[in-house]
Each structure stands twice: as C-alpha cells, then as structure tokens.
C-alpha cells in the first residue's frame, strides 16, 4: 500500500509562498535517498569480507526494478522470488572480483539488502530522517518518516510494493508530481516511437508503466484510507478536487496512449517482421497497452469513488476502536501479567486468550453421525490380510511421445545437475559444446518452458523463473529463463 500523504505531514511544510518553502521541499527530496546511500556505506557490510565485492546499491535498484515490473500481476514479487532474478547480476559481480559464484552467498546478500530496504532492524518501522525546516520566521527541527518498499497481503503470501518515495527514487523524479511526470514521460515516448528511437523508447515505456502503477496506487490509497478511517481524508474539498483532476488526467492519458499505440502499429507495419526492432516495438506496445488498461480501470474507480465515501460513512463501526492512548503491549500488558500472583494471572489469562484468539466454532454432537460411526464393522488390520501380488505394469497412455525415454531421462538429469542458477541462454550452448544432440537441446528448451508453466504432473525439483531479457542461441529465441535445481537443498 502506498504511503499516504497524511495531513500532519502536509502541515509540517512551510506555508505556500514562503521564501524557504522550496528549500525545505528540496531538502526532504534529498533525505528520501539517504537510506540507499547509507546502504552503500553499511559498516556491517564492510566487515563481512565475503560480501564486500557486491555493490549493494545496484542490487537495491534491481530489486526496485523487479518489484515495479511485477506490480499488478497475478503473482507479484515476493522476497522469496527475488533471488533467481538477481542471480545474473550477482554472477557478473562475482566474476568481476574473481570470486566463484555461490548460491548461499547470493541468498545472503539479497536477504541483507531486502532487510535493509524493509528496515527489518526496526521491525519494518518507517525510516526516520531529521532535518531543519527553515521558514521566514522560524527554524524547527523536524522528522521525515517514509518507507521505500512496503509489503502487502496477496492471499496468504506477502508481496513487495514500492511506496511513492520508492517509485520516485526509482524514476529519478523526486521533485516532480506524478501527474506531470507521467504526462512528460508519455510525450517523450510518443516522440521516440515516431522518430524510431526504439532502444530509448523501451526504457521510457517501462518508466511510463511504473508511473501509471504509482498513480493507481495513489488513487487507491486515498480510497482505501477512506474506508479505514473516514476522518483522515478530506472529502469536503481536497478529495473531490483530486478525483475531478484524476478523471481528466486519466482521460488525457488514454488519448495519448492510443496515439502511442497507433504510432507503434504504423511503424511495425513498415519494418521487417521478426527483427530486433519488431520485437522492441511489440514490447513497447504491450507496456503501453498495460498503461491504457490500467487507466481504463482507474477511470471506472474514480467515477464510482463517491460511493466509497458513502459506504465508509455507513460502515463507521469498522473503524479500529481507539482508546485515547495506544498501549505498549510489553510494558502495559505483558509485564503486569508476569508480575501478578500466578493464581490471579491464571484468571486474567483466560480472558486474554479469549480476546486474542477470535471465534472458535464449537463442535456439536450429532447422534446420527455417531451411530453410523459406531455401527461400522471393525476393520481387520492384519499384516498378511491382503497379500500384494506383483503385476506386470504397462504404459496405457495413448499419446505418442515425441521424445524417446532416453532423451527425456538425459535431459531431466542435465537439468537436475544445475545446482547453481543458470540461464537457459548459457545452458543451450553448453549442451552444444558438450556434443549433445539437437534433439536433447530441443527437449531441454521445451522442458524448461514446461517447468515454468507445468501442464502435467511430471515435475522434477527444478525452479524456473522467467527473465525480462531476451536471447538468441542455438536456433532458439525468446525470453530467457533462470534454471535452478534445488535437490541440493534437500541434501542440506
């Protein structure tokens, strides 16, 4: 969930028109980058010699990249899924320092960076940066609180999301409001596509998608905040103005995105089919289409936003019941409970357990079910009661298999041997260099695709993750994949 621009934060800003307002704003912008710069100077990292050759800042920005790329997809990026995507750049850093790649070390460095970005040291509390806010009349020391990466529930999984400051850092656009940044990016993108600057356009299209996600989070954040605590959002003036602006903004974005898609298709018609430019244009088109669909959904959400406010008014009872002062659970509850006489703590504890555990459904006695269970004949459990007769097994499948068993076994064994993460683009040339047959290479390539999105139950303990980069090798082309056998973890 994106961090909300809470009212307190806004009132901390110098009044508009103050000579020093811009100075304070720029100071705050700089402070957002401080946790990342601290990461680079991290003392603990320096002391741990075996991680010293990794550039933590690069890893952090790559994590930002992966989180943005996966936001809004069915399966968003989680802490556990980061590693395979980071392996290629970690290997490059290993090779640059003459160090043998190690999956254990890779896991350690990725976890260290993620822990830092989530501020695990402070149990995920926001980062706090002190600064001196100078206005025309006073100088006050203030504290800026913010998160760069946040977590959110996706079912029972916990996924990563960039916050507003996180996305702005990622897009190098900390001092520009998101609406202006989005308009500028899409204008640049349209110009780049029309002029055929496709390599630059690809990066711009990714930025446009990230900004559309950020903008969506901003609007969703306001609506979510409304349902959480109606009083924290100004529905008299600020929000209606913002929604009206949002409606116009999304309408404008859709027009621009339609223009970009038209320009993309026109250029696609003029160039050679299947070439590198065609692939780039297709990818740009997909990114812009994603922005377009996001804005269509957002516009619908904005149009029905008034209902959110009315529903929230109706459902006031869902607001957390807040006492005047929030308790410190250790000092105000646990310690007094531990200092009580045991006999009293026992009585109090029952009420606490009832409060902490939520509803438990009592099991009811059903006479019919009980009688049925009681009347069942007793099962004989004899060792030799049912002798197992060995049978001749035969393959009853009517499907003709393209690859014979020996190719399948050899290909699976090859994949299982990949104890360190390896790219498919490296694996195929390795097979070729090893003198393996074309059929085996074809099987391995198809098997990797099958393991990425399995349709049958013939699975082997190999993790396959899709990369953003594309490759062309040994007659194969398309998205690259990281392949990693986890048989070794079982042994460990």
């Amino acid at each position: 969930m994106a961090d909300m621009p809470d009212n307190d934060d806004l009132t901390r800003m110098p009044p508009e028109g103050d000579a020093h307002a811009e100075l304070v704003q720029r100071l705050r912008v700089l402070l957002y980058a401080r946790p990342l710069l601290q990461l680079r100077r991290n003392e603990a990292h320096r002391q741990q010699g075996h991680l010293a050759h990794y550039d933590l800042l690069v890893i952090a920005l790559k994590i930002f990249d992966l989180v943005v790329e996966n936001t809004g997809l069915d399966e968003e990026m989680s802490g556990e899924r980061l590693l395979p995507h980071l392996v290629p750049i970690l290997k490059v850093m290993d090779e640059g320092a003459g160090v043998t790649p190690s999956s254990g070390r890779h896991r350690e460095v990725v976890q260290a960076v993620l822990d830092w970005l989530l501020n695990e040291r402070e149990r995920r509390a926001p980062f706090q940066e002190d600064y001196l806010a100078v206005t025309s009349t006073e100088a006050v020391r203030r504290t800026l609180e913010f998160r760069l990466i946040d977590t959110q529930f996706q079912g029972e999984d916990v996924v990563l999301r960039l916050t507003d400051p996180g996305v702005n850092l990622y897009l190098s656009a900390l001092d520009i409001d998101i609406e202006s940044a989005q308009a500028a990016t899409e204008a640049v993108l349209e110009s780049q596509v029309r002029r055929g600057k496709l390599e630059s356009a690809m990066g711009t299209a990714k930025a446009a998608r990230a900004q559309s996600i950020q903008y969506q989070q901003k609007i969703e954040g306001i609506l979510h905040q409304t349902t959480r605590d109606l009083r924290s959002v100004d529905w008299k003036r600020a929000v209606p103005d913002l929604l009206e602006e949002a409606y116009e903004h999304t309408a404008l974005r859709r027009t621009t995105e339609t223009n970009i898609l038209t320009a993309t298709n026109e250029r696609l018609d003029r160039i050679e089919y299947g070439g590198a430019d065609a692939r780039r244009l297709t990818d740009i088109g997909a990114l812009v289409q994603d922005c377009f669909e996001r804005h269509v959904r957002l516009q619908g959400m904005v149009m029905s936003a008034r209902g959110v406010f009315l529903d929230a008014q109706e459902a006031q009872e869902f607001k957390p019941r807040r006492s005047g002062v929030l308790p410190n659970l250790q000092n105000d509850v646990l310690i007094p409970l531990m200092r009580m006489p045991a006999v009293e703590a026992d009585k109090v504890g029952v009420r606490m357990a009832q409060a902490l555990h939520g509803p438990l459904v009592p099991r009811l006695f059903a006479l019919g079910d009980y009688l049925e269970w009681a009347m069942q004949p007793r099962r004989e459990v004899g060792v030799a009661a049912s002798p197992v007769v060995s049978r001749e097994l035969s393959d009853l499948s009517l499907d003709l298999l393209h690859f014979p068993d020996d190719i399948r076994e050899e290909g699976d064994a090859w994949l299982l041997r990949q104890r360190e993460p390896v790219l498919l683009s490296d694996l195929l040339p390795n097979l070729h260099a090893d003198g393996r047959t074309d059929a085996l290479r074809e099987y391995v390539a198809l098997r990797v695709l099958n393991l990425y999105a399995p349709e049958t139950e013939t699975l082997i303990p190999v993790i396959v993750e899709r990369m953003d980069e594309r490759f062309t090798a040994c007659g194969f082309a398309g998205h690259d994949f990281v392949v990693h056998s986890f048989e070794q973890e079982d042994h460990a």
Partner: protein, 247 residues
C-alpha cells in the same frame, strides 16, 4: 428467505478460518453482495450479533468476527487444553500458555504506534526463539530483584501466590528426548504449539522456521483487542488496590 439463507452462508464462510474469497466463488460473491447491498449486510450483522459474534471487517479478505462476552464462539478452557493436550495438565502449563499468547502479540506490535498501522500491511514474521528470548529476557530482569527477597513462604507456593513469571522461569526451554524429539513440556515446544494452533485457525502462516501473522490476526488485534488486554489487566490491578485499601 433466500436473503437469510445467504446471510447464514456468509457467516459460515467467515467462521471457516482457512477459506479465502479468492479460493471460493460463492464466498466472493456473497462478500460482494454484502458490500453492495446494505439491506443484506444489515441481515448478516444482525444474525451474527444474535449468535454472539461482532462483525469487525468486510473486505477482499472476507468477513471477520469477534466473539462477544459469553459467546458460544469464545475460547473455552477445553479449547485452551487442546492447544497442547500433552502438556496442558497442570495449572502452570496453562499460565505459561497465556504468557506466550501475550508475548507473541507484544513481539508483533513492539511500539504503540504499530497498532495504528494499516492492518493490510503485513507485520514482520516471528520465530519461536524470538518469543522465547523475549520472555526469558523479562524473567532475567525480574530475577535480579527477586534474588534479594527472602525465600517464599510455604503457603504462598501451595496457593500459587508466587509471581506468574516464576512459572516460566522455572520451566526448561528445550530438552531433547531419547528419541531425538523436542521435550513436550519445554517452553519452546509450548510456543510452537500455540503458533501451530493459530496457523490452524488461519491467523498465522508458516514460512520455513518463521511464522507470518496474517490479515485475520492483525485486524483482530488492531480493532480493539490491544486496548481490551490493557483493560483486563488494569481492571484486576484496580481490584487489588481496593482490597489493599480495605485491609
């Protein structure tokens, strides 16, 4: 009649701890109906209230309830015994369990302002050892002042008038049995039982050796349980003070 039937279905889904609207089309449709149709939602709330359940949330995570005082859905002594049947024979076992429940909550919400955070934002996962360290650390603090006190009177021990922390302090943390298993009565094993019980209740998810609090746990604690706990403790302290005054 169909409204009441569907209200009953929605309440039933809300009471199934591990069912999520994402996994069940009927549940998702009922949640959407309750969000859109205020008349239907009023029926759900009234019926559940009559059953002894207060509604605390209705959103993409489903419908969430809290048992009212004296509700048939409130945890009973028998339920507490079920958390770890092998070790819940003595009164001290149960008391240690209560300390563990509160310590888990205090570990997940170390600062008062954490209780005010959005319940949609997952709190960091916890481990068995972190809960154990927290309780042992507090016991060590109390022990320092306890050493200077005279030996407890015999009737204090018989009537369990010793401090509750001593029950935890005297219990071993972990002991390996002859078969290589974790001892049933050790505090680490008890912490594990409590967390596993909450996993089965859909309040936590296991993540390797750590336990991730889920939305169901977070919304439950953040919508009033924390202040209820303080009220329970303070209520008793007030009573004690009154008794002392009378004496």
């Amino acid at each position: 009649m169909p409204d009441y039937y569907e209200a009953g279905r929605l309440i039933q889904f809300g009471l199934r701890p591990t069912v999520h609207p994402n996994q069940n089309t009927e549940y998702r449709e009922l949640v959407e109906r309750a969000q859109d149709d205020r008349g239907f939602w009023a029926i759900v709330r009234d019926v559940s209230y009559g059953m002894g359940l207060e509604t605390i949330a209705l959103n993409r995570h489903g419908v969430r309830f809290r048992p009212l005082d004296g509700s048939v859905f409130a945890m009973s002594i028998a339920d507490i015994r079920d958390i770890n049947p092998a070790s819940a024979q003595g009164a001290d076992d149960r008391l240690i369990g209560f300390l563990i429940d509160v310590a888990i909550c205090a570990l997940i919400y170390p600062r008062p302002q954490d209780l005010e955070e959005d319940a949609e934002r997952p709190r960091p996962p916890i481990s068995l050892q972190e809960v154990e360290d927290m309780l042992r650390g507090l016991c060590s603090r109390f022990e320092a002042s306890f050493r200077e006190e005279p030996d407890p009177e015999t009737h204090h021990l018989e009537n369990r008038l010793y401090d509750a922390w001593l029950a935890y302090h005297r219990r071993y943390a972990d002991k390996e049995t002859e078969s290589g298993q974790r001892g049933r009565h050790g505090t680490v094993r008890l912490i594990e039982s409590h967390l596993e019980f909450m996993v089965n209740q859909g309040l936590f998810a296991r993540q390797g050796s750590r336990y991730q609090p889920l939305y169901a746990y977070q919304i439950h604690v953040q919508t009033g349980v924390a202040s209820d706990l303080v009220a329970i403790v303070q209520g008793l302290e007030t009573d004690e003070a009154e008794i002392e005054e009378v004496v």
